[in-house]
């Protein structure tokens, strides 16, 4: 049992048969009630093993209370089905169709701990023997924490489910074992759906041409890579400066080729590239040098004979740094119980800061602002480089475009941006997300999440500029780990194309048709998808102009001004001076780099930010993030949504959203009334309210955590923490008071 690699192939129908031992079949047959509580399997999903009764401890309190039920392990998820008749069939507004509240897709599993009475032990793969711990604690990548107690299940079942879970969610596997393959073999392909949504996929030459026309770029489209003749890392189609010669293209396996990202309305453009390898060989390095010269020259000739190059690895943290920092950071949200929560509370701020995650976000935003400055203020072409050209290059280039181009701040625009920069841009999702549980951990890094974090910072600073909401970003950050979508599954365009073309050898059905993540209807119904769009998005630029006025004064905010004056570093500044002289004079190259001291950069960026912030704020123009310490915030919705202690009943942003929904409803109703009156018909009109009214009070974790397991008694943090921790909650506090009094006596 627990065979790998055969999950999707052996049978196309969901079935137990191939995977469980005869005894288990008997049990399942006999135990009819359990059968009923079978999870609703997705197409292509098969159950590997199950166990009952399993006790799921509620995350809310450290007490031994729990819900009993059955735990399943399938080729897609770990699923817990409760025995208890769910008394309150609350219509969950925000229900994911692929996995439910008690489901953990296998690719969501971050860490598994074996829980013993007092301590917990991290489980690493290959370590699992025949024993199993009394408790299994699962930390998920979407920051949920599950605790399952195995003590009451039959020994055999418990052992198997434990091994199954550990095996399927920790052991390395091959790409074909990813659930998406099994899923899409069992779903009818519907290619037309994708055309309906206007997300540009950037997988055809036409998409690229259109994009270039939209931004009025004057570069040239390269189609030579359609069969990956130039490089397997590059997309089938891409755009390079017109002056890049055809002969140069295949020279370095795609490295060094300036790939066009976006053209500014002034004509200058942003390019990205993978750095050239370093060689010892003199002649070779000479050749590479002149190759790079030619490339830079080509970029420079795109506009005004100017180019700035930026090696991102010199100033930004490496992907390993990013991974390490995130590992520290996420610990503060993966909380096992109330006790741990209040303990972490004491040093909350400094712990967050020490993880360095917020600082990395700031650095990325800062770098992006610098590049925006070059494009917007100096109108120079910019070439960003990085070893692979598909990690931080993607972060920075997408952020730059998001700040400069309002199109990308719409929902479809944003999705197109992700397609362009990340999917076609060849970001190695497979290894960065470690979908296959490979041993090489250093390839893993939450680079895409970092990008979403940066977007969130922009979003919360300039809400009305974005058509999408933070809920959308949170869902997107979760979806990265749902192994159903092709979007985040592959390591390179080559792998994507070849894998999908090859199809499934077993079924011979021709090219596979994976769904993309942008088909949101696969995950959410329309009502839930409504939460993705920002009701306060300022839609039409024209109207925006009218409302600029009030913003005028308001937006003239200030940053703390730099206290150091501009000091170009003497040893590195010569290049800049040189370029100053050459400006617009010769047909020479104007190549400069950010070589000045960081002080200078800071000052210059601040100045740029300030001069921008003094202009009227135009939500359809350039937006820049404020980078002050207090302005970079914690993405509360994503990180704190499952922690009951921080839920504010009846408060939080959702309270505003509710009020807003009321207002929108009223406006719509009034408009309908107006129409009616004008037409003089007696039709009763229906009231349009975008948020459903439920009796349950939504909390600030809306729309994620449901509040029904919660009483309304407040949790109280005080210095009496220790005592509170013992007594549990306030209800018992009366006794504690007596004790306290006795102490004093």
């Amino acid at each position: 049992m627990l065979s790998l690699g055969s999950a999707g192939g052996k049978s196309t129908k969901p079935s137990f048969v191939s995977y469980v031992t005869p005894e288990e079949i008997n049990i399942t047959d006999i135990d009819a009630s359990r059968r009923e509580k079978h999870p609703n399997l997705l197409p292509g999903e098969v159950v590997f093993c199950s166990a009952s009764p399993i006790l799921k401890s509620s995350q809310e309190d450290a007490s031994q209370r729990g819900i009993s039920g059955t735990l399943f392990c399938t080729n897609f998820r770990i699923s817990f089905i409760t025995d208890e008749v769910s008394s309150e069939e609350v219509a969950v507004l925000f229900k994911n169709k692929l996995y439910g509240e008690n489901d953990i897709p296998l690719t969501f599993v971050d860490l598994i701990y074996a829980g013993y009475d007092e301590k917990k032990k991290l489980i690493t793969r290959g370590q699992v023997k025949n024993k199993y711990p009394p408790k299994i604690i699962i930390h998920c990548k979407d920051l949920r924490v599950f605790q399952f107690s195995l003590t009451f299940a039959k020994e055999e079942e418990a052992r198997k489910i434990f091994q199954g879970i550990v095996h399927h969610s920790l052991e390395p596997k091959s790409l074909k074992c990813i659930f998406a393959f099994s899923y899409c073999e069992n779903t009818s392909s519907s290619p037309e759906i994708q055309r309906k949504q206007r997300t540009v996929m950037f997988n055809t030459a036409a998409d690229w041409t259109e994009e270039m026309m939209r931004t009025k770029g004057n570069c040239k489209l390269v189609t030579d890579n359609e069969n990956f003749g130039i490089s397997q890392k590059l997309a089938q189609f891409f755009i390079v400066p017109s002056f890049v010669s055809e002969e140069d293209l295949p020279k370095c396996q795609g490295r060094g080729i300036p790939i066009w990202c976006w053209t500014h309305h002034s004509g200058c453009a942003l390019f990205k590239t993978a750095s050239l390898p370093l060689t010892e060989d003199d002649s070779e390095s000479q050749a590479l040098k002149s190759y790079m010269e030619r490339m830079l020259n080509a970029v420079a000739q795109n506009h005004l004979y100017s180019v700035k190059t930026e090696e991102l690895s010199e100033t930004l943290p490496s992907i390993q740094d990013i991974q390490q920092s995130y590992n520290k950071f996420k610990q503060f949200f993966l909380i096992d119980g109330t006790t741990e929560f209040w303990l972490s509370d004491v040093k909350w701020f400094s712990s967050l800061e020490n993880s360095g995650w917020l600082d990395i976000i700031r650095q990325c935003l800062h770098k992006s602002v610098e590049i925006v400055e070059c494009l917007e203020k100096e109108n120079t072409n910019v070439l960003i480089m990085e070893e692979e050209g598909s990690d931080l290059c993607c972060v920075i280039s997408s952020l730059v475009q998001l700040m400069l181009d309002p199109y990308y701040r719409t929902l479809t625009g944003f999705q197109s941006l992700v397609q362009k920069e990340w999917v076609a841009g060849g970001h190695n999702f497979l290894d960065r997300c470690n979908h296959l549980h490979h041993k090489e951990k250093e390839l893993q890094s939450p680079v895409f999440l970092l990008f979403l974090e940066c977007v969130w910072q922009l979003l919360q600073q300039h809400g009305p500029a974005f058509q999408f909401t933070e809920t959308y970003l949170t869902v997107l950050s979760d979806s990265v780990h749902v192994a159903v979508f092709s979007t985040f599954l592959f390591s390179s365009p080559f792998q994507r194309v070849t894998t999908m073309k090859a199809g499934s050898p077993q079924t011979q059905r021709g090219p596979l048709n994976f769904p993309t993540v942008w088909d949101w209807s696969l995950q959410f119904n329309c009502k839930a998808q409504d939460l993705f769009t920002n009701p306060l998005y300022s839609e039409s630029p024209k109207q925006n102009k009218a409302m600029r006025r009030p913003f005028h004064a308001k937006h003239q905010r200030q940053l703390s001004l730099p206290n150091t004056t501009y000091k170009p570093s003497p040893k590195k500044g010569f290049f800049k001076e040189e370029t100053e002289n050459l400006k617009k004079m010769l047909r020479g190259k104007r190549i400069s780099r950010w070589m000045q001291s960081t002080e200078f950069i800071q000052a210059s960026t601040r100045e740029f930010y300030e001069s921008w912030s003094r202009r009227p704020l135009d939500y359809h123009g350039l937006i820049l993030p404020c980078l002050d310490g207090p302005a970079i915030r914690l993405w509360m919705q994503r990180y704190l949504r499952w922690i009951p202690e921080v839920q504010i009943f009846g408060g939080g942003p959702v309270a505003l959203l509710n009020k807003l929904a009321d207002l929108l409803g009223e406006v719509q109703e009034l408009r309908a009334q107006l129409d009616l009156q004008a037409c003089h018909t007696d039709l009763t009109h229906q009231r349009a309210v975008s948020l459903p009214r439920t009796s349950a009070r939504p909390t600030n974790a809306f729309p994620f955590a449901s509040s029904r397991t919660w009483g309304l008694r407040p949790t109280i943090p005080t210095c009496l923490l220790q005592r509170l921790m013992i007594t549990g909650n306030l209800a018992n506090a009366d006794d504690e008071v007596t004790e306290a009094f006795a102490d004093v006596v």
Partner: protein
């Protein structure tokens, strides 16, 4: 009743002070240093947008200005440059929004003047308030701005404010600072540099300002800063605080917002106050603050018992507490919340035993140190310590916070630096304490008695915050004013002592930002419940501005008795007069119980809400018009309804 419905949510929210609220705070924008000087690089004086979750800025005053400027309606309203306390001056841009003088009515103009809002920027001099007079003026003064460096300009000192106008940059940077904000004036250095003397002004609102000017050697003329010192600390110089001279008359007086009898009737309609609160007759303290509308559970406040080490007891006082307990039929318990950490309480008990000069302090029967049974036949009194630190700790914490945020914030160390001030930790403890009190009253249906050492600092914070949680009335604009009047002013928070109005003794150990801390707590609640409060952030900032400005009489003196003696209501204007005469400025557009007005919000996000509200108003109007038309039409010619009616032009709403 409404209170009963909402309290849970409130409790929970306020209770959620863990990482959640932390992160809320953590997200706080720092008080922007520039607020104070607000000097743009280009020399323009630019106000800053109040950004999201930030409150410490409260002390910096600029919030007020900006919000003001952002309002297109600024022209209609007397502008709120309030407050004069806002140091930041208005930039010329702001005044561009204003209509020419001719447009405003005379009343408005006078109000404008009253508020020091100048719209003639061509003038060098500040526009003065009634009874305000320029006392001194010096040209060629250098303002050493921490953000843009040295700026030359002209400095005026009036009996109310410091006014600096830059002359060497364009557009002019203006500093407009009520002298009440100044905590101390220091002469810095010996005037070595080019014969300049330099002065530093330490302000109560976080800022530190530095000026320098040429030493006038041999001249008998005093430095302008010596003049300034005299007017900044009138009390120390035997003069009157400016509020007594300021003669502005408002259409509606704010001195009447709180009337104890009316307030009592609001809480228990149909009852005669004399009956159930007989203990009031016994000597004013403990005092009833609030009665639960259903359970009759009460919030009562008092000071610490003067029991002494050997546990003195007082029969009368015991009767009191018995009466409090008896008044609430639903619970046989009485909770006594002591705001202090238990250690301090024990220490105080010993120390205070010899102090008998506070005869009005009532003795509590249930001191730490007496067995429970010795007091009550019901043995049902329980004592809880809330671990809130004293005014000295708070003052120190605030000092650290000040250092942290002004003039520059170290971005990469912001969070840990913030944590090390412990300011938010104190805020959390106070909110948590108030929450426990509210929870006992609401969920436990139990009466509570709240006290600390003196009964006017932590006690006031706790009772007023718990009442804010319990009773929706206090979350309205009017109700909040009543709350401040009742819990803070009439129950004797010693504003004069804590703030030190007009007193140059800046190191007085009795000074402490207790009221500011309370406002910060309220602000935290408004962040967590953005729709539960009728007032907005700007309202809170305005209150704090005038806590220091000495423009209004509201926060002067130490007690009700002194205020009556000084005839404050007669001689000064109330801050509430000013606020209640332009409530739109201070109203939260997203307040849920108050949705039928077009309101003017402060925050940028609210711009869209505001558009919506305006759109709705427009649509409503149009519907009404049409309805009227239809009725009149149907009255005359019911046969052909609608056909000749010109369809309304399409309404473009971006919703």
């Amino acid at each position: 009743l409404h209170a009963a419905v909402t309290v849970h949510a409130e409790c929970r929210g306020a209770g959620a002070l863990g990482p959640g609220s932390h992160s809320l705070l953590e997200n706080e924008n720092k008080p922007h240093p520039c607020c104070s000087g607000t000097l743009g690089k280009d020399g323009s004086c630019l106000p800053r947008v109040p950004k999201g979750n930030e409150f410490h800025r409260e002390m910096e005053k600029t919030g007020s200005i900006e919000s003001l400027e952002s309002k297109p309606s600024a022209s209609r309203q007397p502008s709120v440059d309030s407050l004069a306390s806002s140091s930041t001056s208005k930039s010329d841009r702001s005044s561009l929004n204003r209509p020419p003088d001719g447009v405003s009515t005379s009343a408005e103009v006078s109000l404008d003047r009253a508020l020091g809002n100048s719209n003639k920027l061509t003038e060098e001099e500040p526009l003065l308030l009634p009874q305000e007079a320029i006392q001194d003026m010096t040209k060629e003064v250098t303002y050493i701005c921490p953000f843009v460096g040295a700026i030359r300009g002209t400095l005026f000192v009036t009996n109310y404010r410091l006014f600096f106008k830059c002359t060497d940059r364009d557009p002019g940077i203006v500093l407009n600072l009520p002298l009440g904000v100044i905590s101390r004036v220091e002469k810095i250095g010996g005037g070595s540099n080019r014969g300049e003397v330099s002065y530093g002004l330490v302000c109560k609102d976080v800022r530190n300002l530095r000026f320098a000017h040429k030493a006038q050697e041999g001249s008998l003329k005093k430095s302008i800063f010596e003049v300034l010192m005299k007017f900044a600390f009138p009390v120390s110089h035997g003069m009157e605080i400016f509020a007594f001279q300021y003669g502005q008359i408002f259409p509606e007086s704010g001195w009447k917002v709180y009337d104890p009898l009316t307030e009592y009737r609001r809480q228990s309609p149909g009852e005669n106050p004399g009956e159930s609160v007989e203990f009031r007759a016994q000597g004013r303290i403990p005092v009833l603050s609030w009665i639960h509308p259903e359970s009759q559970a009460t919030v009562t406040r008092c000071s610490q018992p003067l029991v002494g080490v050997n546990g003195k007891r007082c029969k009368d006082d015991e009767k009191y507490l018995q009466a409090i307990m008896d008044a609430n039929a639903q619970s046989h318990k009485l909770f006594i919340f002591d705001a202090r950490p238990s250690v301090n309480a024990a220490a105080n008990k010993a120390r205070r035993s010899s102090l008998s000069h506070r005869p009005w302090l009532s003795l509590s029967p249930n001191p730490p140190g007496l067995p429970l049974g010795s007091f009550s036949p019901h043995e049902m009194t329980k004592l809880v310590f809330l671990d809130i630190h004293n005014i000295h700790v708070m003052r120190e914490s605030f000092r650290k916070l000040k250092e942290l945020v002004y003039p520059n914030i170290e971005d990469s160390r912001w969070l840990s630096n913030l944590e090390s001030t412990h300011w938010l930790e104190h805020i959390k403890l106070i909110l948590a304490g108030a929450l426990r009190i509210a929870d006992k009253v609401e969920s436990g249906k139990t009466s509570v008695v709240v006290h600390c050492s003196d009964g006017w600092d932590r006690t006031a914070q706790l009772t007023s915050l718990s009442m804010l949680m319990l009773d929706a009335h206090y979350r309205t604009l009017q109700g909040f004013q009543e709350l401040v009047e009742k819990e803070w002013l009439s129950f004797g928070h010693r504003f004069q002592l804590r703030v030190g109005h007009g007193d140059r003794n800046h190191s007085d150990a009795d000074r402490s930002p207790i009221f500011l801390q309370f406002i910060d707590c309220v602000w935290q609640m408004t962040r967590q419940f953005p729709t539960a409060f009728e007032f907005n952030e700007y309202f809170l900032i305005t209150i704090l501005d005038h806590l220091y400005s000495c423009l209004f009489g509201t926060f002067l003196c130490n007690s009700e008795q002194q205020r009556v003696k000084e005839e404050l209501p007669k001689k000064t204007a109330s801050l509430w007069s000013y606020i209640n005469n332009q409530t739109e400025e201070f109203t939260n557009p997203m307040y849920v119980n108050y949705s039928n007005h077009v309101l003017f919000p402060v925050e940028p996000l609210h711009q869209r809400h505001r558009e919506l509200l305006a759109k709705r108003a427009e649509l409503q109007r149009r519907v009404e018009e049409l309805q009227r038309e239809v009725t009149s039409r149907s009255a005359t010619s019911p046969e052909k309804p609608g056909s000749p009616v010109c369809p309304a032009p399409p309404v473009h709403a971006c919703v």
